[in-house]
């Protein structure tokens, strides 16, 4: 069990700056996820923790000890790779046993001819086999121990890779997109399994993914990265409910957050498509801001829209997407300087509207996020003065 502390880690590959001075403190036993679009530096970061890459500057400490001078296997970390990285010519048993044979047997005890002669090897091998069997039992791999990786399914290979990581009982588990090669159903299953494994082992997990669902569902905390920087670090609900920037808001949540262009009128009052909102911002926010509204924060306005202070806009329904338990309605904002809008509704509401209809969409100003021209979150002033005046009607 160990903490992981990264301080001002920077890394460039040639002229490309991959990490620009990242600080990150991971608590003992925490499940921390690094999430971000591909190329954001999250994989490089985990590889620096593992010691597979060397940072240009900054330092890594595991369990309070600096590990910059240590080679990968001396850092007491284990890694699970996206491609599983099993040794193709070895059986499952040999794959799982390998980290132990490397750490417990001396060089001459591993050499092909000498090993039969070396004393103590048999006992050590017996202990190793017992440990392998224990791990295999935990992961339900007993039946597969004598197979080669090529004879296993994706999910089984995944479990073997986990077993190879677990058998060393490392302080820190590093996982580089471990679920990306699995099919959707298995991925959902393995999410639960990984979360349970984390709970059972109590070790520190650092998990890299580009899938925000994995980040949201498994982690204690999520670090959202982009262009070699951490944009926001917080619990999944903090990232969802209070995104620090436009990029975080766009990345977290599915379907993605709806972005609407708002203008700042006199006194800092926001206007959406010419209609005033019950939101105002400090004058230094500039002339134009972006309003972020989650798909579930939108509602169809029934009856006549436009009561005092009501936040609404009209849009044309382009497509209904049936997810079974709910519908996603996709709207287009004809003639307006904004991309489409999506909205999460119950099947009953979806049944009540028809495609190509022009509908009024209302939202609660308290539930929307405001971002300035640089994409940074700003807290609007005077919220609540008129927000309660519109209660979106939902069937």
């Amino acid at each position: 069990m160990a903490t992981v502390a990264l301080s001002s880690i920077a890394k460039s590959f040639g002229p490309t700056r991959v990490l620009g001075g990242v600080d990150l403190d991971i608590a003992d036993g925490e499940f921390l996820t690094l999430v971000g679009p591909s190329g954001c530096g999250k994989s490089t970061m985990i590889r620096i923790i593992a010691g597979l890459e060397h940072q240009d500057s900054g330092s890594v400490a595991i369990g309070g000890q600096g590990v910059d001078h240590l080679r990968p296997h001396e850092r007491r970390v284990a890694m699970v790779f996206q491609s599983y990285a099993l040794y193709p010519h070895m059986s499952v048993r040999q794959n799982i046993a390998l980290p132990l044979t490397m750490s417990r047997l001396r060089l001459w005890q591993r050499l092909p001819l000498l090993r039969q002669l070396s004393p103590g090897r048999r006992e050590a091998m017996r202990a190793i086999q017992a440990d392998v069997a224990a791990v295999a039992a935990q992961l339900q791999l007993e039946q597969l121990l004598d197979r080669k990786p090529a004879q296993l399914s994706g999910g089984q290979r995944q479990r073997v890779a986990l077993g190879r990581a677990m058998v060393r009982s490392p302080d820190v588990f590093l996982m580089d997109e471990p679920l990306s090669n699995l099919d959707a159903k298995l991925r959902v299953h393995m999410r639960t399994e990984l979360a349970e494994l984390h709970k059972r082992l109590g070790a520190t997990f650092v998990y890299v993914t580009h899938d925000q669902v994995e980040a949201m569902t498994m982690s204690d905390r999520v670090a959202m990265m982009d262009s070699g920087m951490i944009l926001q670090l917080g619990t999944p609900s903090q990232l969802y409910e209070k995104p620090a920037s436009l990029k975080v808001a766009q990345f977290i949540g599915s379907p993605a957050i709806n972005l609407l262009p708002a203008t700042v009128a006199a006194g800092g009052r926001l206007e959406l498509f010419g209609r005033p909102l019950a939101l105002s911002v400090a004058p230094e926010a500039g002339q134009a801001v972006t309003l972020g509204v989650r798909p579930e924060a939108l509602a169809l306005v029934q009856g006549e829209p436009g009561g005092t202070g009501s936040a609404w806009f009209s849009a044309r329904l382009r497509r209904k997407e049936n997810l079974g338990s709910e519908y996603i309605l996709h709207f287009e904002l004809a003639g307006r300087d904004a991309s489409g809008v999506s909205m999460r509704v119950s099947p009953a509401i979806a049944a009540s509207v028809s495609e190509a209809a022009e509908l009024a969409l209302g939202f609660d100003e308290a539930a929307c996020h405001v971002f300035d021209a640089q994409g940074q979150r700003i807290e609007p002033r005077g919220q609540g003065s008129a927000t309660a005046s519109v209660v979106p009607l939902r069937a």
Partner: protein, 291 residues
């Protein structure tokens, strides 16, 4: 009205079967012609080795002798020439060269394919340049050096110029490049040294390439006449082609029946070895070529 003509039923089942047959026949015809061209000398060697001298020099072409003379030819060849000695020399040289080539080339290729160090690309360019130098170019300096060391007329002198095979380094480097980095990184995390990674992780996956290279190497050095001719004068050390030359000069003169019998005996091990390793060989060639 039915003015629009229906599309003619151009491709009937019978038609397409015929077309398939014709194209298959064409392809196979070309391949068979090539195979005959390649195999004819071997067949001729085999046929000659079982013919009596009178038939060898008769004007007609016959694929089977009128009088079977194989026993006489083969026993004469075995009796007069130390064929087993030549074959043993060939085996010693081929195995020795191949072993050192693999020992050297595999780590080199791994370093060039997977390790990052300054000058790596320059080294690789030098290796490519090395591929362009024929063995005849350094023959003279090598001979002088070996003569000064006093090791002419030894197995070592026959093997030493071929210990470092740039072709092997090139071939294995291409093969190793497609080996997943993640597996190497996993091995590093599991505590393996780079040497152990090379021999325990990467090499076992490279069997197709190793088999392919082994065939190239063994064929080249089993059949090599040029270099042994330069450094060997003792018939006891002669590899098969040089032995054949000594035999042809000294014993048989113009006894082509015995000569071809000897040649058959000396070619057989290679052909058999290739037939056994054929699948691996083809895999190795295709796998290093693509990807």
């Amino acid at each position: 009205m039915s003015g629009a003509p229906l599309p003619a039923q151009a491709v009937t089942p019978a038609h397409s079967v015929l077309r398939r047959f014709v194209s298959m026949a064409l392809v196979h015809g070309v391949l068979v012609a090539g195979a005959i061209f390649m195999l004819a000398p071997f067949v001729w060697m085999l046929v000659t080795s079982i013919k009596p001298p009178a038939e060898i020099f008769s004007g007609e072409i016959a694929l089977w002798p009128k009088r079977f003379y194989g026993v006489e030819n083969y026993s004469l060849a075995m009796e007069k020439a130390p064929l087993l000695r030549f074959a043993l020399n060939g085996v010693i040289i081929c195995v020795g060269i191949l072993a050192v080539q693999l020992l050297v080339a595999i780590p080199c290729a791994y370093a060039l394919a997977k390790l990052r160090f300054p000058g790596r690309n320059l080294l690789f360019v030098l290796i490519l340049l090395g591929l362009c130098i024929p063995v005849q170019v350094p023959a003279m300096p090598l001979y002088i050096a070996l003569a000064h060391l006093g090791v002419l007329n030894t197995y070592f002198s026959m093997m030493v110029p071929f210990f470092l095979s740039v072709f092997a380094i090139f071939l294995f480097r291409q093969f190793f490049r497609s080996f997943p980095d993640d597996i190497i990184n996993a091995a590093r995390l599991d505590g393996m040294s780079e040497f152990e990674i090379v021999w325990r992780i990467v090499t076992p996956s490279a069997w197709p390439a190793i088999a392919a290279f082994s065939v190239f190497s063994a064929v080249a050095h089993w059949n090599d006449l040029y270099w042994p001719l330069i450094v060997i004068s003792d018939a006891k050390l002669a590899p098969p082609p040089l032995g054949m030359m000594f035999f042809a000069d000294a014993e048989s003169g113009s006894n082509y029946g015995a000569l071809t019998a000897a040649a058959t005996i000396l070619t057989a091990p290679l052909v058999i070895a290739f037939l056994i390793a054929r699948r691996r060989f083809i895999d190795g060639i295709t796998m290093t070529g693509v990807k």
